[in-house]
């Protein structure tokens, strides 16, 4: 089935509560309006999608998006919009897509200071998410990046993952770090 969203500013809103519930149930996409921590998919509210998720669902053909005036927005147009507004959108999207395609539940890690929070089963099911920090790597990385990611992840888990990636087809490599005392 196709879900229907409206692009309002930096967000895509699925207004129909039935569609909202189904889309959330499908893979913990989005956030129901006014419910910071949904217990389950039994809410009765519109669903708010970030642009990263919205582009992913649109490209999969699961989401059709219109603007405030009802005019259709193609997945490419949506991605162009996201690229304009979100710093490092292409890198973040690339990692998001790979993780979702592999079956992980990838959600915003923003409230933890990370790019993503990744679950194997889902929020409320897994004990705590793994935090992913997307890093653009040339040939080199400043160890400061590792320290900073560690500090941001500290309150959630001892372990965090750096997704080190580059533009285009450059493969993404993942390094997991765990704070340790020898």
């Amino acid at each position: 089935m196709t879900f229907h969203g409206v692009l309002l500013g930096l967000r895509v809103i699925v207004f129909d509560p039935k569609e909202a519930r189904e889309l959330y149930r499908l893979g913990f996409y989005g956030k129901p309006l006014g419910i910071p921590k949904p217990r389950d998919a039994e809410f009765n509210a519109p669903l708010e999608l970030g642009l990263v998720e919205a582009v992913y669902l649109a490209e999969k053909g699961l989401l059709s998006v219109v603007d405030e005036n009802g005019a259709n927005i193609t997945p490419d147009e949506l991605a162009a919009r996201a690229r304009e507004l979100i710093p490092r959108f292409d890198l973040i999207y690339k990692v998001y897509k790979e993780l979702r395609d592999r079956g992980y539940i990838a959600r915003s890690g923003l409230k933890y200071g990370a790019d993503f929070a990744v679950y194997e089963k889902g929020p409320g099911i897994d004990h705590a998410p793994y935090l992913i920090h997307v890093i653009e790597a040339g040939e080199e990385i400043d160890p400061l990046e590792i320290v900073r990611a560690g500090r941001l992840s500290h309150s959630v888990r001892k372990a965090f993952i750096l997704a080190i990636t580059g533009p285009g087809d450059a493969p993404t490599r993942y390094l997991m770090f765990k704070w340790s005392k020898p």
Partner: protein, 179 residues
């Protein structure tokens, strides 16, 4: 439904209470009864306490109104998110003196405002001059300035702001570290 709102102008979104002013007073401060702000109408529509019609009797849903409001205000959705969040916390915000701002009272019948809220959105840069003048305007009126920052997934974080002057502003002596 006892509460009916009239959409006077499709462009400016001028709104009036057509029927049920008594009911409206249970929901809103008396200052809002004469001229309803789009955020207040959105809230009444969202909670199912009112219906919205135009002069020829056409009915408008919450979705219709938020789309229309988005056309004239790019912050429409996030402002509503903050308004809704404050209502859920039992506060009664009213639209503030500057764009994307709200004012709060301690209690519904109290004339004085206590908090001045500026709605900001991640990835929408804000002018520093705007931040400063907001904090100063709040100080002048003895309101506590609050930034309501909505991240790109709809989570809201509130921050009190004040201008710090090295050598003049005293740092608080007691610790206020998190528990």
């Amino acid at each position: 439904m006892t509460l009916e709102i009239l959409l006077v102008d499709h462009k400016t979104l001028e709104l009036q209470i057509l029927r049920g002013a008594d009911e409206a007073l249970k929901q809103l401060p008396y200052t809002s009864i004469e001229k309803l702000h789009p955020l207040e109408a959105l809230y009444l529509l969202y909670t199912g306490t009112a219906v919205l019609v135009d002069s020829v009797g056409r009915q408008y849903s919450f979705e219709d109104l938020i789309k229309a409001y988005s056309r004239i205000n790019p912050y429409a959705w996030v402002e509503f998110e903050v308004y809704l969040d404050l209502r859920k916390r039992g506060r009664l915000p009213v639209p503030g003196p500057r764009p994307h701002s709200l004012l709060l009272r301690r209690r519904k019948r109290e004339p004085r405002y206590t908090h001045y809220i500026l709605v900001l959105e991640e990835n929408r840069p804000v002018k520093l001059a705007t931040l400063y003048s907001f904090v100063e305007e709040a100080a002048k009126n003895s309101w506590e300035p609050l930034l309501a920052i909505v991240d790109r997934y709809g989570d809201i974080t509130y921050y009190t702001a004040l201008v710090f002057r090295p050598g003049l502003t005293r740092l608080s002596r007691e610790g206020d570290s998190e528990p």
